[in-house]
């Protein structure tokens, strides 16, 4: 079964504009579902698959599926957060790309718009985390 969130993480790790910000290889700060509890975690990305499903015909699955994916960008400044968020958009909001080993037809923003904000600084620190959440819908090829 295709893990489209993992495939997106694999794809983002191939983008030099992304790895220049979040690191590369096994040290890349792109996480599924939630941020790791660790120091020096920012800037980072969190990938969450929140919806979608296979395209079904009367004969069963047709070989394509959709996914709704939240991409969260975290950074220690609003400008760094914006840069990371926009870099992800430039990397994935397109047609026909291969994420990992999965062929995608198109990935586009939606069904909801982007929102952003910041978390209050925690005790003992003046540093707060700035975040942006962008939602994308992607269609991809699957035999599942």
């Amino acid at each position: 079964m295709i893990d489209i969130g993992a495939e997106l993480i694999t794809y983002l790790k191939t983008k030099s504009a992304i790895t220049a910000i979040v690191g590369s290889g096994t040290a890349a700060r792109i996480y599924p579902d939630q941020i790791k509890e660790m120091s020096n975690v920012y800037p980072c990305l969190v990938i969450k698959v929140t919806g979608g499903g296979p395209d079904i015909g009367v004969g069963g699955k047709t070989g394509i599926a959709s996914a709704v994916i939240e991409v969260w960008a975290f950074a220690e400044s609003s400008s760094a957060r914006n840069t990371l968020d926009r870099t992800v958009y430039a990397s994935i909001a397109q047609g026909n790309a291969t994420w990992g080993t999965t062929y995608t037809s198109e990935c586009f923003p939606g069904p909801q718009g982007r929102d952003s904000g910041s978390d209050y600084a925690t005790d003992g620190s003046d540093q707060c985390a700035y975040w942006a959440r962008a939602i994308y819908t992607v269609w991809y090829s699957t035999d599942d």
């Binding site: 395209d55 070989g63 394509i64 047609g95 037809s105 198109e106 269609w139």
Partner: protein, 144 residues
């Protein structure tokens, strides 16, 4: 390499006009080619149970409609005079392994253009209507 049949969205479709110098931003194609073959009734006094039919001799070709993200620097093409080759090219279906998109190609002409309605806060959307003239094609070529 054999192409695997895969469903796909419409994103990535292109329109090519061989002679008319116009390349605009198409945002949708609400009406693709509609081809109808009339039926000719062959019922006679000896017919039983159902009316009987035979196919007519010729196909009726419907018009194609395109919605255009109107740009004042580009405008819309002129309505047609001499027929030209008009090609609608499909995007490559994800995971199908094709290299050349499917297409509908034939000679035709522009039958209508509609300049966009103007409203505060609303992007301008124009329309183009095209008809194949039945001279050459239109011919469907599958993805390969």
């Amino acid at each position: 390499m054999a192409v695997t049949a895969k469903p796909d969205t419409g994103h990535g479709m292109t329109l090519t006009l061989a002679t008319t110098n116009w390349t605009g931003k198409i945002i949708g194609m609400p009406t693709n080619l509609d081809k109808q073959r009339a039926r000719v009734q062959t019922t006679h006094l000896g017919s039983t149970t159902n009316h009987s039919y035979m196919p007519g001799d010729l196909d009726e070709l419907g018009e194609l409609e395109f919605d255009v993200r109107f740009e004042a620097a580009t405008g819309l093409p002129a309505t047609g005079s001499a027929p030209e080759t008009i090609t609608v090219t499909w995007p490559l279906a994800p995971g199908g392994g094709g290299a050349t998109g499917a297409s509908l190609a034939g000679t035709g002409f522009i039958t209508g253009i509609t300049y966009p309605p103007m409203q505060t806060g609303v992007l301008q959307i124009g329309k183009i209507k095209i008809s194949y003239d039945g001279g050459t094609g239109p011919t469907w070529t599958a993805e390969a």
